[in-house]
């Protein structure tokens, strides 16, 4: 398995596809961070810096969107690009029968490919975050505390798990579909659906299940929102957004949107504007993280089963 892992890793790093992605991500990241940094400096000038100024680098939107939004959006694409031709690429090159006739277990092939992809993602994200940290130190002048570093590390892990889910998904597609183009399209289609359309779908379903006759009827509104939120969590994109926004913003004490809070809750939030300790933030995040991880495991398991059952006849 480690032989395959090493070879796939080398393939990733030398492929032009990866290089293009790297350039794109690095460029966008630098621009966003720089702009966020400048924005932040302006906003924070005069007053004393809040404790989490450093983390704001990742959540403040510059002119376009914040870095965490960018990763939410482009992470799936990264995963899909790295995995969409994992198996059917070998098939179309004619190297799959050769690989399978070597004395290795069949699952070693997908394990090796998956791990290599995860390793690439990990290397990529770690270097990106370090890069931003460096830039942040320069532009904002905020020095991260242990608490913030810990939050960042957890954010990094969650992000890797998030992209790993998409990688696993695209490997499943590469096993199911014989054509490389089809599997790429299927991956992108699912990504677009989960990223953009689950919002519409969840409000549609929520309106059907828990209709709101009167906007002033708080109970109905709350029920409607609850259903909508639960349904939208089907999408890993929303899972990830909820998890990371709580992680990166210590002032967020719940993953619920603020509109849901009653007046008393809102007042108490405003009066006690203290950052949530890391442990408490984690408590909020853990269910999301667990779901994300289990989705990844399910994807990987599906890849495994499909591949083991598949006939390898090339014709």
């Amino acid at each position: 398995m480690w032989t395959i892992f090493r070879k796939e890793l080398a393939d990733h790093f030398s492929s032009s596809r990866f290089l293009i992605m790297l350039c794109l991500i690095a460029m966008v990241t630098l621009i966003i961070t720089y702009m966020a940094g400048i924005n932040l400096r302006e906003e924070l000038s005069g007053g004393s810096k809040p404790g989490s100024a450093f983390l704001m680098l990742f959540t403040t939107s510059g002119r376009f969107f914040s870095l965490s939004q960018f990763i939410t959006f482009f992470g799936p694409l990264l995963g899909i690009i790295m995995g969409f031709d994992a198996i059917n690429g070998e098939r179309s090159k004619g190297t799959l029968p050769k690989l399978l006739s070597q004395p290795i277990y069949r699952d070693a092939i997908i394990n090796g490919k998956f791990l290599a992809g995860v390793a690439v993602i990990a290397i990529l994200f770690t270097s990106l975050i370090l890069l931003i940290a460096g830039l942040g130190l320069l532009t904002v002048g905020a020095i991260p505390g242990i608490n913030e570093v810990a939050r960042l590390i957890i954010y990094l892990l969650v992000s890797i798990a998030y992209v790993a889910f998409w990688l696993g998904l695209s490997i499943v597609f590469s096993i199911l579909f014989r054509s490389v183009a089809t599997s790429a399209l299927a991956g992108v289609a699912l990504w677009i659906f989960l990223a953009f359309f689950t919002g519409f779908c969840s409000s549609l379903i929520a309106d059907a299940v828990a209709p709101v006759d009167n906007q002033k009827n708080t109970q109905q509104v709350i029920a409607n929102r609850e259903v909508k939120h639960k349904i939208s969590l089907i999408s890993p994109v929303n899972l990830y957004t909820d998890a990371t926004s709580t992680l990166l913003n210590p002032y967020r004490k719940t993953s619920k949107s603020f509109a849901l809070l009653g007046p008393m809750e809102r007042i108490s939030m405003n009066r006690f504007q203290n950052p949530l300790p890391l442990g408490q933030s984690l408590l909020v995040v853990v269910p999301y993280l667990t779901t994300l991880l289990s989705l990844t495991v399910i994807c990987f398991g599906a890849a495994y089963i499909c591949f083991l059952r598949q006939e390898i006849r090339s014709t």
Partner: protein, 254 residues
């Protein structure tokens, strides 16, 4: 002579259709066995079962005294398989391709270097080792495929259409190479091919497969000069083949 491949009552069913039926196949130590038959006769399916890449629906398989369904890794370690339309990683050099296969077989470092050097020499690609496979001709690719099999120092090699798409010179070279491997390394060879003339030249025994069953099997001497029911003499492998699949024209020509 002991048998390196021995199957008994081998059957394979795909989606309700019997692709291989009651197949008894025996390949002996050190011989070149020609495995013939029209496209879709079940040759590749049989080969996949021999390697444990597909499970037989029925019957027993012994390859080098092992059961490929139960012990696939050991069988794959000792049997070299050249699939039809063998592919390579086009952006790696021949040597890098070979190194990958060597490492998949658990051969590393100097030992791998030595074996790669030897096998490249054996197949006549010693000058092309550092070139990218992208620019290889079909003939060179097939030679590289053979080199890949030899890396693991197999006791038996299974070649599925190794001469497909080669020019006449390439075919002759490939046939020579196969004969050479048998003579020098004592390899047993299962060779599937449509080139009856060449098969007749190098094979010790042949088996002809049609619709999943063996319609004729035996040494060249046994098969040639057989008489058909009509009393016609079958003088070459081509005649025998035509007798089974296209009997009328073969008989007319005689």
């Amino acid at each position: 002579m002991s048998a390196v491949i021995h199957t008994q009552g081998l059957e394979k069913t795909y989606a309700g259709k019997k692709v291989v039926l009651e197949l008894d196949l025996e390949v002996r130590q050190g011989e070149i066995f020609g495995f013939l038959g029209p496209n879709g006769a079940g040759k590749t399916t049989t080969i996949l079962m021999l390697l444990g890449l597909t499970e037989p629906s029925n019957g027993t398989v012994r390859v080098l005294d092992m059961d490929p369904a139960r012990n696939p890794l050991e069988v794959k370690r000792q049997v070299g398989y050249l699939p039809e339309n063998m592919g390579f990683y086009p952006d790696l050099t021949a040597r890098q391709n070979l190194r990958y296969v060597a490492e998949l077989n658990g051969i590393y470092g100097n030992e791998a270097d030595r074996r790669i050097h030897d096998t490249l020499n054996q197949v006549g690609l010693e000058d092309a080792g550092d070139r990218h496979v992208q620019g290889f001709s079909r003939g060179m690719q097939q030679r590289l495929g053979i080199a890949e099999l030899l890396l693991k120092d197999p006791g038996l090699i299974i070649l599925d259409e190794p001469t497909l798409g080669l020019d006449p010179d390439g075919i002759r070279g490939m046939i020579e190479l196969i004969r050479q491997l048998r003579d020098e390394r004592g390899l047993s060879v299962l060779l599937s091919s449509h080139l009856l003339h060449q098969v007749q030249q190098i094979c010790d025994r042949v088996g002809i497969l049609n619709e999943g069953t063996m319609v004729a099997c035996g040494s060249m001497n046994e098969l040639i000069n057989q008489k058909t029911a009509e009393g016609a003499r079958l003088e070459s492998l081509e005649d025998i083949y035509m007798h089974y699949f296209h009997s009328a024209p073969a008989a007319r020509r005689l």
